[in-house]
């Protein structure tokens, strides 16, 4: 790596920082930044401005700036990078970034901090956690982290420490469809939007909540292949704008349309009978249940014309199997997410689009892919296992009810921390260790999250900012940003195996550490050294590739290495290309596909449209069923939220470049509703309900149903440390009730609110 040392932004922290910044201990502003230095040549790496983790290519320019572009080698990403990804350097040397460990010196949440060194931080944490473990058991400490690359190291520490209570953000965002897919297919499903000819979308806002490959796939399908897009969403979002048809569906009623589509597919005999007979278990029970879900029935519930539902279903079936009903992402619309996401999967199963172009498919990791190829078409990464980890006897706090069994290993029910901390149910939590997670924004019922944090004996937060949640910690550990650290090789396989790796681009600024090192060093301090046998990231990487230095070098050089040809087991053209490439490949079926090889990790080995396993876990839920939900009181408006392209959920609102693009969220309100309340655009309004009250400003627009209001999420932070985000806009979590949905354990992002002009 060629190092190019120059002075970066002269006088950062000294000349332009105001009083507030100077008083934020541990920040770049307070400590002064050294020169920015690093590779002047492009280094292939992985973005971390959101959870998609796109491959990027970055370099330091003239010691002043970091140029971040997409990586051309990763074709499905097209060398593109979104606004958040391009702004990564703005986070890197933000004066408000924390670059020194901090300890709380005032009341918890009061905002008084003192800089300390790493050793003092580790000693304080070890002393407190070991004391709590000794007095109350290791299970009284909860560990929560953003899922992804480094959560493995963090959760490894939790296991070594002896606590079963590890949580990701799953139940605040994607957990619903993951659980539904596990129940039906036995594993997660992916969607092949790019090859689809007909796409039905239920508010999966891919043009604002950007997931690069899926966003590009959707645009490619629409623009290059003339795919038709139908969107059901209460708000006129960008994806609704780009749709051929948009239906402003009543919030929380998506399931009625989804079930009605299934009804029409079966009743009008449009479904793939052959596929269902071969691969599906529980069809008859499902068919019997959906008999009642006619388009007329759905129209009365969701405000979508019955004739349109019928016509759209016929169009979908005509395009099948190269058609898809998008199963969405943020699965927090209602408490009936398990049923909604299963109903969406069911529509796909009925049109037989599984493992077909433009439909749903399952990831082809190296091990499986090689079996089909009959040779080592792709290297298999080794997983370093640590032997003799302590056996954990204690049950997880979310293991109170068997119905949640599918989410226990998929991230857990994050918000169950609140009940355990405040009501000692099922037992008392006493400490909370957080890594790059911001429950104050993403959980719900902010006041309760504050209470839970205050009820803890000890709180640790590892982050790059004093996030709204980190503001309630006793110790803050400053993590190096993704531009400053190396990581393990990551598996990003899709239709064929692919690997990529995060690599350090910039020399570390300030006194920060990569979190894998933080958890290793803390492990040593906790007396758990035997569980951390690896020396550093390089030894881990070499272990992964089984000391194949050439392979490691290739992955590092290109940043993205994919193997073989895309394979979908039931797509003849792909199977043909695959077998042509690999002479020893498994023999194909009579129809030229691998259809007979398609299997599912469910009790029956088939797709379980209705499931006796689920029936046992959650009586009454074996068959997908409609249940009426009450989302609001009669005199309230629906309150819904969504993502915006320039911010990531709860993480980027303080990043200077992105805060400059958008620092506030207006409350979308329909002109008729606004007229009744005498509100005009820009007016200050109060938005309130039984959970909380927020002040913001109105954005009067026809792009929302008259019975609904909308706000982009993640705004309105309340701790003073995030000065660019604090007090700007409406804090959605302060208005949403604390809920644990059946089976999925999801929290809830739809509720009722009232609005008043101020």
């Amino acid at each position: 790596m060629k190092l190019d040392r120059r002075t970066f932004i002269k006088g950062a922290g000294a000349s332009t920082a105001g009083c507030m910044l100077a008083s934020l201990p541990g920040s770049i502003a307070a400590l002064g930044a050294g020169p920015v230095s690093g590779s002047a040549k492009h280094v292939a790496s992985i973005c971390e401005m959101c959870s998609t983790r796109c491959p990027i290519s970055a370099r330091v320019v003239n010691g002043q700036n970091v140029s971040i572009l997409g990586n051309d080698k990763a074709k499905s990403y097209g060398g593109a990078v979104c606004a958040r990804g391009g702004a990564g350097h703005s986070l890197l040397y933000d004066k408000q970034r924390i670059v020194k460990p901090l300890k709380r010196v005032g009341e918890r949440g009061e905002g008084k901090w003192q800089e300390i060194d790493w050793q003092e931080a580790y000693e304080t944490i070890a002393k407190n956690l070991n004391r709590i473990k000794q007095q109350h058991g290791a299970e009284s400490v909860a560990f929560s982290s953003k899922s992804g690359s480094l959560s493995n190291h963090f959760f490894h520490l939790a296991k070594a420490f002896g606590s079963p209570n590890t949580f990701t953000h799953a139940t605040t965002c994607p957990g619903g469809y993951v659980v539904a897919a596990k129940a039906m297919f036995g594993s997660k499903a992916k969607r092949d939007l790019g090859n689809s000819k007909y796409i039905i979308n239920f508010g999966h806002n891919l043009y604002e909540g950007i997931n690069m490959t899926e966003t590009r796939g959707l645009m490619k399908a629409q623009s290059d292949k003339g795919a038709k897009l139908v969107v059901f969403e209460p708000r006129f979002s960008i994806v609704a704008d780009k749709a051929d048809e948009w239906y402003a569906i009543k919030p929380g009623t998506d399931i009625a349309v989804a079930l009605s589509i299934c009804h029409v597919l079966i009743r009008d005999n449009l479904y793939d009978r052959e596929f269902v007979e071969q691969y599906v278990e529980g069809f008859d029970d499902f068919a019997k249940e959906v008999e009642a879900y006619t388009p007329q029935w759905a129209e009365a519930i969701c405000d979508v014309p019955a004739e349109d539902i019928r016509r759209i279903t016929h169009e979908l079936a005509a395009a099948a199997p190269h058609a898809v009903v998008d199963f969405g992402h943020r699965a927090t619309f209602t408490t009936e997410e398990f049923e909604l996401r299963r109903a969406l999967f069911a529509a796909n199963v009925l049109i037989g689009n599984i493992e077909r172009k433009g439909g749903l498919y399952f990831g082809k990791k190296a091990k499986n892919y090689n079996k089909f190829a009959g040779e080592m078409a792709a290297p298999v990464l080794a997983k370093p296992g640590v032997k003799n980890l302590p056996k954990i006897e204690a049950k997880r706090i979310d293991m109170v009810d068997e119905q949640y069994a599918l989410i226990w290993s998929s991230g857990g029910i994050y918000q169950s921390i609140l009940t355990a901390a405040l009501e000692a149910q099922p037992y008392q939590l006493r400490a909370w260790v957080m890594s790059r997670t911001n429950p104050m924004q993403t959980m719900t019922d902010r006041a309760k999250v504050v209470e839970a944090l205050k009820a803890m004996e000890f709180v640790v937060a590892c982050d790059v900012y004093i996030s709204e949640s980190a503001a309630y910690a006793d110790i803050i550990l400053p993590e190096s940003t993704y531009l400053e650290r190396d990581e393990e090789i990551a598996d990003k396989s899709g239709k064929n195996p692919a690997y990529y790796v995060r690599q350090q681009v910039v020399d570390t600024i300030g006194d920060t550490k990569p979190s894998w090192l933080i958890w290793q060093e803390l492990g040593h301090q906790l007396g758990l050294s035997q569980y951390f046998p690896w020396e550093n990231m390089q030894t881990l990487q070499l272990f992964q590739v089984d000391k194949d230095a050439a392979l490691l070098s290739k992955i590092k050089q290109d940043g993205w290495v994919s193997f073989g040809k895309p394979l979908m087991l039931r797509e003849p053209s792909m199977v043909k290309a695959f077998t042509a490439q690999y002479p020893n490949a498994k023999p194909v079926d009579a129809d030229g596909t691998y259809a007979s090889q398609l299997s599912f990790k469910t009790p029956s080995g088939k797709i379980e449209l209705s499931s006796s396993k689920v029936e046992k876990m959650a009586p009454g839920r074996g068959v997908i069923k409609y249940r009426e939900v009450t989302m609001k009181k009669a005199d309230e408006l629906f309150f819904i939220q969504g993502k915006v392209a320039v911010h990531t959920n709860s993480a980027t609102h303080n990043v200077p470049m992105l805060a400059n693009l958008m620092s506030n969220n207006g409350v979308w309100i329909h002109p008729v509703t606004a007229g009744h309340l005498k509100i005009t655009s820009g007016d200050k309004v109060r938005i309130y309900n039984d959970t909380g009250s927020e002040e913001g400003h109105a954005l009067v627009t026809p792009g929302i149903r008259p019975d609904t209001v909308f706000a982009y999420m993640g705004f309105g932070s309340k701790n003073k440390e995030l000065s660019r985000a604090t007090g700007r806009g409406v804090h959605c979590g302060n208005l949403l009730p604390h809920v644990i949905s059946p089976v999925t354990g999801m929290n809830l992002h739809t509720t009722g609110v009232k609005i008043a002009k101020l």
Partner: protein, 190 residues
């Protein structure tokens, strides 16, 4: 003129995500308070539920008949060989005539250099290295196409020959080199 660089913005494909805006800032060191390019999502226009947004790229239009060049008393604003409306900082006396003359309101005074600034298709940075402008290279949905319109084989020429397109304020006779493919309400027809 050897080359005739033009930019085509497909409003069907544009999602207003501001990736272009951010990439341009990073590539060209654009200060926070000003902007060389942004995409304004305007609307929604129409009546519920027949609505649509407009994705309006706001940046230098690279006029062939550029008012900013005509009014510049010193020749600091000039059209280069490649057709790109450029700025010679050394010749600029800061009279601001060019800022006032621009009918698209896209010229601004750079607070760091105190000289008029605007989009130059990354002429001094990426273009000089043989790369396409930052906005074009990062666009997540491939809504931007850049190239030499003098070359009939170029992608931009093909696009302009085959797609309905328009230029902003064409009635002023400025002959912008930024072309736009208008979005077709209801579905994408690129």
């Amino acid at each position: 003129m050897t080359k005739r660089y033009v930019l085509v913005h497909d409003e069907n494909k544009c999602i207003g995500c501001q990736a272009c805006n951010v990439a341009c800032r990073s590539e060209n060191n654009v200060p926070e308070s000003v902007t060389r390019i942004q995409v304004r999502i305007e609307g929604p226009h129409g009546n519920f539920p027949n609505l649509h947004f407009k994705y309006n790229r706001v940046s230098c239009e690279q006029c062939e008949n550029a008012p900013c060049v005509k009014v510049c008393p010193t020749g600091a604003a000039y059209v280069a060989d490649d057709g790109i409306v450029s700025i010679n900082e050394k010749k600029c006396v800061g009279c601001l005539y060019c800022v006032a003359a621009c009918p698209y309101k896209v010229r601004f005074i750079n607070p760091d250099t105190k000289v008029p600034d605007k989009c130059d298709f990354c002429k001094k940075t990426r273009l000089a290295r043989g790369e396409s402008p930052a906005c074009v290279s990062v666009c997540p949905t491939d809504a931007l196409c850049f190239g030499d319109a003098n070359d009939p084989q170029s992608e931009v020429s093909q696009l302009l020959d085959t797609k309905t397109n328009y230029q902003q304020k064409a009635n002023l006779g400025t002959q912008p080199r930024v072309y736009r493919i208008p979005s077709r309400k209801g579905g994408i027809k690129a």
